[in-house]
Amino acid sequence: MFRDTKAALVFILPAFVFIGLFKIWPIVLSFGESFTFTSITGAKTFVGLENYGYLFTEDPVFWGSVKTTVLYSLMINPLTVAAALGLALLFNRKARYTGFFRTLSFLPSAISMSVVAVVWGIILDPYYGLANSMLRMVGLAPQPFLTSSTQALMCLAAISLWRSAGYWMMFFLAGLQGIPHEIYEAADIDGASGLQKTFRITLPLLTRTTSFVLVANTAFNFLTFAPVYILTKGGPRGSTNLLMYESFKSAFVNLDIGRATAISSILLVIILLIAVVELRLTRASFDY
């Protein structure tokens, strides 16, 4: 056992070195920056919690951005997990064409998010887009989509769902393959129905996969940036101004590194908190 541990450590060491160098260290640096004020000459002064204080008490856009980010997260995460799981259950059988449909659902995730955003932007154009042409064809009222402060965030969630459901489906498929066949056979002998098997065997035994997908997907969605940057620039009226985009603007347009790093540090804390809660909620209660 001990020798295994040693070998394992040797194998993961290179990865850890690089993660430490390119992920952990920048996070530490950026956390440090969030307590400073940088003047235009590049001189940094330590200002303690001033950036945080301003964000929490005075900043006119910060809380709106937090609300938007949390709302987006609450919308997209359950949807993605449900859709991915649904697709996996649907395509986890040996029937004709399932391979084709699996590939089809996975394809959107192989396209870069920027391309996806541009294409959907064209489809959702309120005046000349494909989506509204179709709505008009079937006699429905055209929708403003990305130009409405009530619909834009939902559109972004829909685009993200379209792109990532197939990707997470692959993880669920792998999880489904890992469930021992004997359990289903025993259930068949006991006369369990298909639904019973899904709810009594499949879902409980998939808990670990679900847990991983939920946490990874949460972190991923909290860092959503490209579609906001390309499609809405945080608008209409701040309705899609996710924290990641707000932080980006602070850093690269407003040259306000203190505020930008304070926002990204807060974002990191939010992600950690939510991940811990999710891990607790989806803890596997048994082993197989």
Binding site: I40, E58, P126, A141, P142, R237, N254
Partner: protein
């Protein structure tokens, strides 16, 4: 074995080829993302005249250009030369990203540019960027649409202008649902740039409001003044009360498409539209002088792209050569023909009577000489522009003008602390 030898020979040849190009000085240039085939015409001219200098032109789309520069400039000596949005000159100069240029140009050479354009390239008395173009704007209108609905044309002679109230009244007349499906088919009026200070500040200045405090670092009390709010409210009505302008048209190219395809009767637009609208088959358009507010003064936007040299470049001589070429007379003449920007060199106007004889150019020429007001001079123009843009964008979507501008003033002033 034989294959290995062949591969080795190939590698060797490739190596040789690349060594030979290393002998030349290679300039890295970050440039605005104009059509490559047009930019290449200018670059080829430079390469012919300077065989020892290679130019790596990196064309960056407008939407990413400024962020790209923000990432690249603090990190060292490349790009050697880069395009500078005129009002950003103080921002780059304050941070030592631009080489002071006074020593490289004689007073005689500097006479080739409009004094007002050169002024935009100066910060604290030193010259940091050379004008590549300048700009002006006016009210473009679609003659076919006006004729079709029996509305008389706006005045076309230089300096004769409509008031904004008249424009709004015309726009209400010319917002048309042609087939009664509840969808507007022709919009009465469009801003080419829906939320950019470049296009919107002239409205504010026409009312007599200030865009920024005299120190260039204060907006509280200026962008939230009663007059400023009044203009922002008027602007909001186009989209929310009269509904004569479409919401959510994020960029100039898209606005131009609307107007070019007959989906808008009028468009407040910049001078490049004179040449760019020629791409739309069968479009018959006119240009009326920039509108103003009754009782206020006529104000038009101006200023455009400049070019600067990276203060940390290791190839100063080649960079200055390139700067002088690209902002020089021949290149400016060529670029005007290719793209239709307003030249910043009076000499180009004389050299191209076939272009500038057009009465529309006479109208803009009148504006440049009589009503042009440059954008605010502030080292914090990046921050000022971004936050004001977001604010106008929200207002056009129906946000309350006063509250939005109050919050903008607070945000901008906090960001401008770093320059104090």
């Amino acid at each position: 074995m034989r294959r290995t030898v062949a591969v080795l020979i190939l590698v060797g040849l490739v190596g040789l080829a690349s060594v030979s190009t290393f002998a030349a000085t290679k300039l890295e240039v970050i440039w605005m993302g104009w059509p490559k085939d047009k930019v290449d015409v200018l670059i080829d001219g430079f390469k012919k005249a300077n065989p020892g200098i290679e130019v790596d032109m990196q064309l960056i789309p407008f939407a990413q250009l400024f962020q790209t520069l923000e990432v690249r400039l603090p990190s060292g000596g490349t790009p050697d030369v880069y395009i500078v949005d005129g009002p950003l000159t103080p921002s780059y100069a304050a941070r030592n990203f631009l080489l002071p240029l006074d020593g490289y140009f004689t007073a005689e050479e500097l006479k080739a540019w409009f004094p007002a354009s050169l002024e935009t390239g100066r910060y604290k008395g030193k010259l940091y960027s050379i004008p590549y173009a300048t700009s002006s704007a006016g009210l473009f209108f679609n003659k076919a649409v006006f004729r079709k609905y029996g509305v008389p044309f706006p005045p076309e002679e230089p300096g004769k202008r409509l008031t904004w109230e008249e424009v709004a009244a015309l726009a209400r007349k010319l917002t048309i649902d042609e087939n009664g499906d509840g969808q507007v088919d022709v919009w009465g009026f469009m801003f080419e740039q829906i939320d950019r200070p470049y296009q919107l500040l002239p409205l504010v200045q026409s009312k007599g409001a200030q865009a920024i405090g005299p120190d260039g670092l204060t907006t509280d009390g200026y962008i939230n003044s009663d007059k400023f709010v009044e203009v922002a409210t008027f602007y909001s009505k186009f989209f929310n009360e009269w509904k004569v302008s479409p919401q959510g048209i994020p960029d100039a190219a898209k606005s131009r498409e609307y107007f070019g395809n007959g989906k808008a009767a009028m468009m407040l637009g910049a001078e490049w539209n004179i040449s760019r609208l020629a791409d739309f088959k069968g479009l018959e358009f006119g240009l009326s002088s920039h509108p103003y507010f009754a009782g206020g003064k006529a104000v038009t936007p101006t200023g455009s792209w400049h070019v600067g040299v990276n203060s940390k470049t290791t190839k100063k001589d080649a960079a200055i050569k390139f700067l002088k070429y690209i902002t020089g007379h021949e290149a400016a003449v060529e670029w005007t023909k290719l793209f239709g920007h307003a030249p910043a060199r009076p000499g180009v106007y004389d050299a191209l009577p076939e272009v500038f004889g057009n009465p529309m150019w006479q109208t803009l020429f009148y504006e440049m000489n009589n009503t042009a007001v440059p954008r605010p001079v502030t080292p914090g123009y990046l921050e000022y522009e971004l936050i004001l843009r977001e604010t106008f964008n929200s207002i056009h979507y129906g946000a309350d003008p006063r509250t939005s501008l109050e919050s903008a003033a607070k945000r901008i002033d906090r960001e401008l602390r770093k320059y104090r």
